[in-house]
Amino acid sequence: MSLVARHLEANSIPTLVIGSALDIVEHCGVARYLYSDLPLGNPCGKPYDHDMQLSIISQAIALFCSATAPNTTERAPYSWSDENNWRDDYAKVDDSNSEELARRGEERRRLQSEQRAGGIERAAMVADG
């Protein structure tokens, strides 16, 4: 997605990315980035929390005006909950799931091989932003 934003910027359209993967977006480099420190899936705010969602988008609109240089990152002032275990949980690899992951990898490669044989060549990317 960051690559699309860069293409739009290069063609004179101002952009802003709202996302929850700080390292990935900053590694790519975008003009304006509103970082939402929430689990991947809800960068615009917690589900059904309309006040948080409106506040985040209002911040994004303000950031369009205040950013004067590329690679401008601002944080949204929200957290998921008082519990932060979700941070350790994402894509966790340990003794409890290593065998299952190895098996899943085999299955995924088999499926991808079938898809290629069937003419499907576009593979989904992992965490994007």
Binding site: A31, G41, A69, A91
Partner: protein, 158 residues
């Protein structure tokens, strides 16, 4: 209480795929220079376009990952997100407003904070192939946004 830190998604993803037996690490896009387009008019006069990585929750949207454009209103009740990497153990994507800011932008349009919301939003697939994104998807999204006559664009990856 657990520590608060920015989740290192590149490192986590690398380790996760290695554990699945993949021998070649994904190389994330990395740039030293970043293009920057200044605003041409105040936000209160600007038309805002929206791009999402979710696909339409339709038979074709679920089956085929490609660029789609969806007319609004109405705001879709759901989008297809099953192919994407998001934190399924702790959250869900049942509330479209939590990852596509259409309702919020309609409110801000009514309040005069933005000029208008574009008449449609666009879905772009996340891609393993950066070349596909750069050579095919990004130019097509640009074309469609120009047709919409947008002044600025908000892009929201899940």
């Amino acid at each position: 209480m657990a520590e608060v830190y920015d989740v290192p998604y590149m490192e986590r993803t690398r380790d996760y795929y290695r554990a699945q037996g993949y021998s070649t690490d994904y190389v994330w896009a990395n740039n030293t220079d970043t293009p920057f387009a200044p605003l041409k008019k105040p936000m209160s006069e600007s038309r805002v376009g929206v791009v999402t990585t979710s696909m339409p929750d339709t038979a074709i949207g679920r089956a085929q990952r490609c660029i789609y454009s969806t007319l609004i209103p109405p705001i879709p009740q759901s989008m297809y997100t099953e192919d994407l990497s998001w934190h399924q153990a702790v959250t869900h994507t049942d509330d479209v407003n939590s990852y596509i800011p259409l309702e919020q932008l309609m409110i801000l349009e009514n309040e005069g904070d933005i000029g208008s919301l574009a008449p449609r939003f666009h879905s772009v697939p996340t891609e393993y192939s950066q070349r596909n994104t750069i050579e095919n998807d990004a130019p097509e999204i640009l074309n469609r946004l120009r047709e919409d006559q947008v002044d600025v664009v908000i892009l929201v990856p899940l």
